[in-house]
Symmetry: C2
Subunit: 323 residues, 2 copies
């Protein structure tokens, strides 16, 4: 069991559930020893009826934090065992009001001292251990209220963002250059012959001519890539940009692009262009934000049938973004 404790906040669910079960069996054991024909799990419902009089099922469910189904089923059982009766609400014939039987009220009067004893004993032990569990729990509950999952996921992404590195070509990663590009090409279009050739042999098709292939790594995982191809002296094409679908939204594309532009500048390129498709809205938005400008007429000698967009990079001045 100490393993769960070692895991800390991660195993909190399991630990709390275990404590919860312990508390229920504590109550059951006390009831049994006192000869009270009661079950610990009935407590919230019975106590609610005792404190606040007859209640409709949905109402009870809301107050004790369970579903109406649970209350409905429990109610059936308690009726069977003679603890509550169900009367139809005359003012609203959908509702069924539960109320305690005389016997239940009598037993509950007898149970009261046991409840008191449980509370007192727990309070005393908590005081001795110098903890205020109720206050701590109350705060913790409110802290779970707001939109935790989204916040956690955002935190995940921030951490990933900081773990992403952009690196140059490495033969060991060649397969990923193919894999990442093939994935999106197959999704939106289809692989053309030229794609297959370039993706399979980046060394001869791109690097040999003075181009570059970049990879984005998340730890040791390849999640994105893009390439620069030399079309003619000083004229570079940005191409074969792809980011793994499950890692989009991390800004990987932007960083690949920024690095490609750096490379282009380092090599004193004169023109940087790209060809794309009007169907790829998010990609186009990225290109625009990085300084690419749409050209009125498409490139005359495009290699791709899918491309209907032609953009040329204009240096927007200062470094828009660091690496």
């Amino acid at each position: 069991m100490s393993f769960l404790a070692d895991l800390g906040l991660l195993a909190l669910g399991s630990r709390l559930r275990a404590i919860s079960d312990q508390l229920y069996t504590l109550a059951d054991e006390v009831y049994r020893l006192r000869g009270l024909p009661l079950q610990g799990r009935w407590f919230p419902l019975l106590r609610l009826l005792q404190d606040q009089g007859p209640q409709a099922i949905g109402n009870i469910a809301a107050q004790i934090g369970q579903t109406h189904s649970a209350v409905s089923q429990l109610a059936d059982r308690l009726v069977e065992e003679g603890w509550v009766t169900i009367v139809d609400d005359p003012s609203d014939r959908r509702r069924r009001c539960l109320s305690l039987t005389a016997r239940a009220r009598a037993v509950l009067r007898e149970v009261r001292p046991a409840w008191k004893a449980i509370v007192q004993e727990l309070e005393q032990r908590c005081a001795a251990a110098d903890i205020d569990l109720l206050a701590t729990l109350a705060k913790f509950e409110t802290l779970l209220d707001s939109d935790l999952p989204a916040t956690v996921v955002a935190r995940c992404q921030a951490s990933e963002r900081s773990r992403v590195r952009i690196v140059g070509f490495d033969p060991a990663l060649r397969q990923h250059f193919y894999r990442l590009n093939a994935a999106w090409l197959r999704k939106y279009f289809y692989l053309e012959a030229i794609d297959h050739r370039v993706l399979s042999e980046p060394e001869s098709e791109l690097l040999a001519g003075g181009g570059e292939v970049l990879f984005a790594l998340l730890d040791d995982q390849v999640i994105g890539t893009c390439a620069l191809k030399v079309e003619s002296a000083g004229v570079y094409e940005l191409t074969k940009m792809a980011v793994d679908e499950s890692h989009q939204g991390l800004g990987v594309g932007r960083r690949l692009l920024a690095r490609a532009i750096e490379v282009f500048k380092e090599r004193d390129g004169t023109t940087l262009f790209l060809e794309s498709s009007s169907r790829l809205k998010p990609a186009l938005a990225l290109y625009e934000s990085m300084g690419f400008e749409h050209q009125a007429q498409p490139k005359s000698d495009s290699h791709y049938r899918r491309s209907d967009v032609y953009m040329i990079w204009k240096d927007p001045g200062g470094t828009t973004r660091g690496a």
Copy 2:
């Protein structure tokens, strides 16, 4: 839901269970958003296998605080879904060791950042709320360890003891004089004719002759009774002593007896005797401890067929016990 909070420590079980469920759905939601094919409930098992290598089922159960059945069933499911494999332990052919598949290990590597994000977010929020939930919980867990139910029941009894009052005869309680005595008589013997007469009409049979009938009340509930009957001038018989079965162990009998002796003294009685049966060991022990002494030969003119014990009270001196 605030109803549960109002109940404080009593509804702790329900609240903890609710929080536990919330935490599981938090984890599930995070996994879903990150595209991880994992369930929150698998975490303790998978994490254990990841941290400590292949483990036998019983071992796992002990570490994660569940039954072996639960682990066995979960294991079957995880095997079906390709997360773990089961290999028989060669050194002990009863054991089946679970170990992670390669795929599971890969996925778990990917999950790690999500775990980290969850922990960090919760830690941050806890810090902001100025609570140390883990420390509080750890203390609370140890505080549940020792024998709580028995302690609580003892506390109940102590409280009842302080709420017990001994009162004189009241016509409104006459039925209880019959009820309490009939209960034990039917259990150990049977009602003799004389019993029925005395129990039905205590006023004429006991009080009219200068006797007394005492009742023990727990709040407004009659849980014990006993009577003094005048046999002849100054000679009193202690009789019709009965304590409700579910309220024995509270010292009610002792207090009834003590009060009866007081009454006997107040009325300047000369002899106080009782008749009983050797079968009623606990009662005899009480009589002895209060100063009654066994007589060698039984009373010659006993009214009861069941009685084979005859005791006479000898004042042990100082007041043994207050009321």
